[in-house]
Symmetry: C2
DNA sequence: TAATTATTGTAAATTACTTTCAATAAGGGA
DNA sequence: TCCCTTATTGAAAGTAATTTACAATAATTA
C-alpha cells in the first residue's frame, strides 16, 4: 500500500478506482491541474470517472493534505500533489510547471515584525512565487 | 478631484456615478468584498447600479492598481482598496478585517535563495497572511 | 461470503461570471 | 453653454463552474 493509500485508509476512507485515477493523474503532472483537466486525463485510467467525483476527491485529498490548491490570476482551482514537509509553490509563467520549496524559516522574522507592527496574531501564511523555470529560460 | 479620479482620468476613462459608488463602498470597508457584496452596498449610493457594472469596474480598477484582489479559501474574488506602496495583505480570520503591510525587503533574501536552489528566475511573489486582529483577540 | 455503508454517477439545480446590444451620459470642442 | 462623439451602463440571455439529491454500486469488515 502506498503512502496516500495509507493516509486514506487511516482516515476511514476507502481506496477506490476513481480515487486512484485522480491520484495517478496528479502524480504524473508537474503543473497545477483544474478539475476539468483532471477528468480529461482521468477517464483514460477509469472510463466512468465523473466530474462530480473529481471535485469530491480533490476536496477529500486537500483535507488530508495529499494535494494542495494553487491560486493563479486566471484560475483558482489548480491542484498539485503535496511534497511532504515543503510549504510553498513556485510556478513557471511560461510552461506552468510548479515546484515546491521549504520556506518556513525565512518567514519567521517577517512574521514577527508584522505581528509587532500590526498587533495581529498571525496564524497562517501563504506564499506563492512566479517566475521562469530553467527549461524555459 | 481625488487621486483615484485623477488616475481614471489620465487613463482616458470617465468618472461616473457607478464608479464613484463602487469606490466609495470599498473606501468604507476594511475587509475584502466580493462583487455581490459591493453591489448590495453600492445600490444605496447609486440605485441603478448593476452587478455587471461592478464586475467591469473592478476589472478596470484592478488594471489601474486602484484595488487589489484577495484570494481566500472560500472566495477568490475579494476586493480591497490598494494602499499605496504597500504590497501584502493580512486578514483577520475572525472578523475578516484586512490590513496591508510592506514586505519587499524581507523577501529578497528568500527569493535569492529559492532562485539559486531551483534555477527559476523569479518574477513575482504573492504573500498573504492570516491571523487574528487586535480587536478580536 | 454476506452485510454494511461509503462512494459513485446521472441528472438537475444553483451560483458565478461573461457577452450582446440598445440606451444613456461624460466630457472635449465649438 | 450646448452639442457631438463615444465610453459606459443595465437588461437580458448565455456560458461555465460548482453543488445537491438520490438511487445504484462496490470496498471493507466481521
Amino acid at each position: 500500500m502506498s503512502t496516500w493509500e495509507e493516509t486514506l485508509s487511516q482516515a476511514g476512507c476507502r481506496i477506490t478506482a476513481p480515487r486512484r485515477a485522480v491520484m495517478q493523474v496528479l502524480a504524473q503532472t508537474e503543473w497545477p491541474l483544474v478539475p476539468q483537466e483532471i477528468l480529461a486525463l482521468g477517464v483514460k485510467l477509469h472510463a466512468t470517472l465523473s466530474l462530480v467525483t473529481v471535485y469530491r476527491t480533490l476536496e477529500l485529498f486537500e483535507e488530508l493534505s495529499l494535494v494542495r490548491r494553487v491560486h493563479q490570476d486566471d484560475k483558482c482551482q489548480g491542484y498539485l500533489l503535496t511534497a511532504a514537509g515543503h510549504r510553498h509553490v513556485l510556478i513557471c509563467e511560461k510552461c506552468g510547471r510548479a515546484v515546491e520549496f521549504p520556506g518556513q524559516d525565512d518567514l519567521t522574522a517577517l512574521i514577527a515584525r508584522v505581528e509587532k507592527e500590526t498587533g495581529y496574531l498571525i496564524a497562517a501564511h501563504w506564499l506563492q512565487l512566479r517566475g521562469v523555470c530553467p527549461t524555459c529560460r
